[in-house]
């Protein structure tokens, strides 16, 4: 088992990680935080639409659609073998 840091886009379906880093301005961080996507939050990738479409994640009990522009800038830590 080894911990690796990945952008949300590289996560596999149904894989869970912990948010460790958000690359972006204050306003983007606030928007994400208000929806529960903040440092230390457990996040699970539910599905992804084709191409550069949005990614659906679940945080707490809510499901959030995150547009591709943000998906590559949210970094999570996952346990992988």
């Amino acid at each position: 088992m080894q911990k690796s840091k990945l952008p949300l886009s590289a996560l596999k379906k149904e894989e869970t990680g912990v948010v460790v880093f958000v690359q972006g301005g204050e306003s983007m961080r606030r928007r994400l935080e208000a929806l529960g996507i903040r440092l230390g939050a457990k996040i699970k990738k539910k599905s992804k639409l084709f191409g550069l479409g949005p990614v659906i994640v679940s945080v707490g009990n809510a499901e959030i659609a995150v547009g591709y522009g943000m998906v590559t800038r949210i970094f999570v830590e996952v346990d992988r073998k």
């Binding site: 301005g25 928007r31 208000a34 084709f50 550069l52 479409g53 949005p54 809510a62 499901e63 995150v66």
Partner: protein
């Protein structure tokens, strides 16, 4: 004394609002802004209280306009009721703690209490109240359970006093509250949740969306036909004798007769063609458009409250990025399919000026309203179903080509999509009816005066001969570029008032196949109806509206002229294929010419 309802989006706030207030609900704008809120009144122990439903918000940072308005309304409020989704307590508490800093009397309402229990979420209500030092109620907004106590709890609530916290401190406080009051247990996935995953599945989602939207429109159009048959009958039986009597009193001719009643003879009335304020004006708005508006918003409201619309937005996000927008723009465009007026009004909810401009222009140029759509299906469908397909493919071709170009040409940024996917919930009938009423009222208020005024104006132009003069003036353009007969000019001018009435006027001209499609395309594109134009002017301002109108004319010339050229190909299937190829060529050209700028745009949208 007023009571404010505040909470995140999708927490069932409007259901609670609807239970608390009576029928007299009004929607108004916060002074000086485009942010709307709903107001109603509650009578409790003989006292009347004003209840205000603040637009749903996740936070109160002073950056977004809606949040700024929410914050200033809250500081003017007397009692705050914070509605919270019990299934998402942790995230919701972020707003709760921010609200407590206002120091007002405050009540916390844990809504969707049933849902939380089904999902295996236990919340210690008393401990939560003790930790926050404010009263906590549990409710089920849809059934109204637990809401009876709300007024008395509100009135006995005391002002809270808490120190101001930094975001970091706030989250750590939330963390400690959650760990002591909430207890989660595992449970099975429910059927609704499986359906939820299915409807945004990359493979099944899009076809399902097509299927649902197709049937939604099909239902509206066919039940609309029945309803308008009924209203036409009603007009013939009840309204006609009154009009005919009035015609006699006015002597059957003269300016006033022409203005009020238009072109009618002593025995029968052609409501669509007469063009009088009291004949065509009243009939078209109340007899044709209103039934379609009611039906459309009935279906739309159902899909909205069910929670399906956000999913359509997510599925279409990728497509909309191609035209410089993101998924959320689907909502105004979809609303505009009912009537362009509420569609254009809804662009207020979009974040950037660029998005608002592109959405507004694309919406009022290419999207026909429901009444127009139904008449198009009737008039063009008479020539064969393939022509209806050709018409909508052409409109879509225009939509996407226009969007791809606007994306390159309009300065500014488009923020990335970030939205909650609400769980499916069965819509509540009372709330549905209230919502429908608000929307219909908006239509009656915003659209009808302009339609009646417009008809009166056109009548004056007709009587004074201006219209036939315009017909001659524009006939080289209409004949030469669009390949249409001169009489279409009259229909096009009437299209400024009502597009549906204009479609009806095209029918007797005997246009063949592609020619009919060209006429309807030109009619749809060249200018929005007067009511839409007025809201457009209000929303975009003079300068941007002028730009929008210039774009519309350019688009009409290109599309109408192009279609006339393509009509030489005879076969509508070939035309459809050519249109697809043209879109692909345009996309490639844009890629070649603008690729450098595009990279720059993406960069800027990231820093948002």
């Amino acid at each position: 004394m007023n009571i404010l309802l505040i909470g995140n989006p999708n927490v069932g706030k409007s259901a609670i609002f609807s239970h608390l207030t009576g029928v007299s609900v009004t929607t108004s704008n916060y002074p000086g802004t485009t942010v709307q809120f709903t107001k109603g009144s509650l009578t409790y122990q003989g006292q009347e209280y004003e209840v205000i439903d603040i637009p749903g918000t996740y936070q109160l940072t002073p950056e977004a306009e809606a949040e700024k308005v929410a914050a200033s309304m809250i500081s003017e409020g007397d009692i705050l009721v914070n509605v919270v989704d019990a299934t998402n307590l942790e995230r919701n508490l972020n707003l709760t703690l921010q609200l407590m800093e206002f120091g007002k009397p405050m009540v916390l309402v844990l809504n969707m209490w049933d849902d939380a229990q089904h999902k295996g979420i236990e919340i210690d209500q008393e401990l939560l109240a003790a930790l926050l030092e404010i009263p906590v109620l549990t409710t089920n907004g849809l059934t109204g359970e637990g809401l009876n106590q709300l007024p008395s709890v509100c009135l006995s609530a005391q002002p809270v006093s808490v120190p101001k916290l930094l975001p970091q401190q706030r989250w750590s406080k939330i963390g400690s509250i959650i760990s002591s009051v909430q207890n989660l247990s595992h449970r099975q996935h429910t059927f609704a949740e499986r359906l939820q995953d299915f409807s945004i599945h990359p493979w099944f989602g899009p076809p399902l969306a097509l299927f649902i939207l197709y049937w939604a429109f099909k239902i509206v159009i066919s039940s609309g036909e029945m309803l308008t048959n009924f209203t036409t009958n009603l007009f013939d039986r009840v309204y006609a004798p009154f009009i005919l009597a009035l015609s006699k009193i006015l002597g059957g001719e003269g300016l006033l007769h022409a203005l009020l009643l238009g072109d009618i003879n002593g025995t029968s009335i052609d409501y669509e063609g007469a063009m009088g304020v009291l004949t065509t004006g009243v009939f078209v708005t109340l007899g044709i458009v209103l039934p379609y508006i009611v039906l459309f918003y009935l279906v739309f409201g159902f899909l909205e409250d069910l929670g399906y619309l956000p999913r359509v937005a997510i599925i279409l996000d990728r497509l909309l990025h191609k035209v410089g927008l993101h998924g959320y723009s689907v909502i105004p465009m979809f609303l505009a399919c009912g009537c362009n007026v509420p569609g254009v009004l809804a662009i207020r909810n979009l974040e950037s000026r660029r998005e608002r401009f592109i959405t507004a222009v694309m919406t009022c140029t290419t999207i026909p309203c429901m009444a127009q759509t139904s008449l198009i299906v009737k008039a063009v469908g008479a020539q064969g179903g393939i022509f209806v397909l050709l018409l909508f493919v052409t409109l879509f071709t225009v939509w996407i080509s226009m969007g791809m170009l606007l994306k390159q040409l309009v300065e500014g940024t488009t923020p990335t999509l970030l939205m909650e996917v609400p769980p499916y919930r069965m819509p509540n009938l009372t709330i549905q009816i209230k919502k429908l009423w608000l929307r219909v009222k908006c239509f009656l208020k915003e659209a009808i005066p302009y339609v009646l005024g417009g008809i009166a104006l056109i009548n004056l132009l007709h009587v004074s001969g201006v219209i036939s003069w315009l017909g001659h003036l524009f006939s080289p353009l209409v004949k030469g570029v669009f390949g249409l007969p001169e009489q279409t000019v009259a229909a096009l001018i009437i299209g400024i008032v009502r597009k549906d009435a204009a479609v009806a006027l095209l029918e007797p001209l005997g246009l063949a196949g592609v020619q009919m499609v060209t006429a309807v395309v030109v009619l749809t594109l060249y200018f929005p109806c007067i009511a839409t134009f007025t809201v457009l002017l209000k929303e975009l301002g003079l300068k941007d509206t002028a730009k929008a109108v210039a774009i519309m004319f350019a688009v009409t010339l290109t599309a109408g002229g192009g279609l006339n050229l393509l009509s030489k190909l005879y076969n509508p299937w070939v035309i459809i294929a050519v249109e697809f190829i043209l879109v692909i060529i345009l996309a490639l050209c844009i890629q070649l010419f603008f690729s450098a700028r595009q990279a720059d745009h993406i960069d800027r949208s990231f820093t948002q």
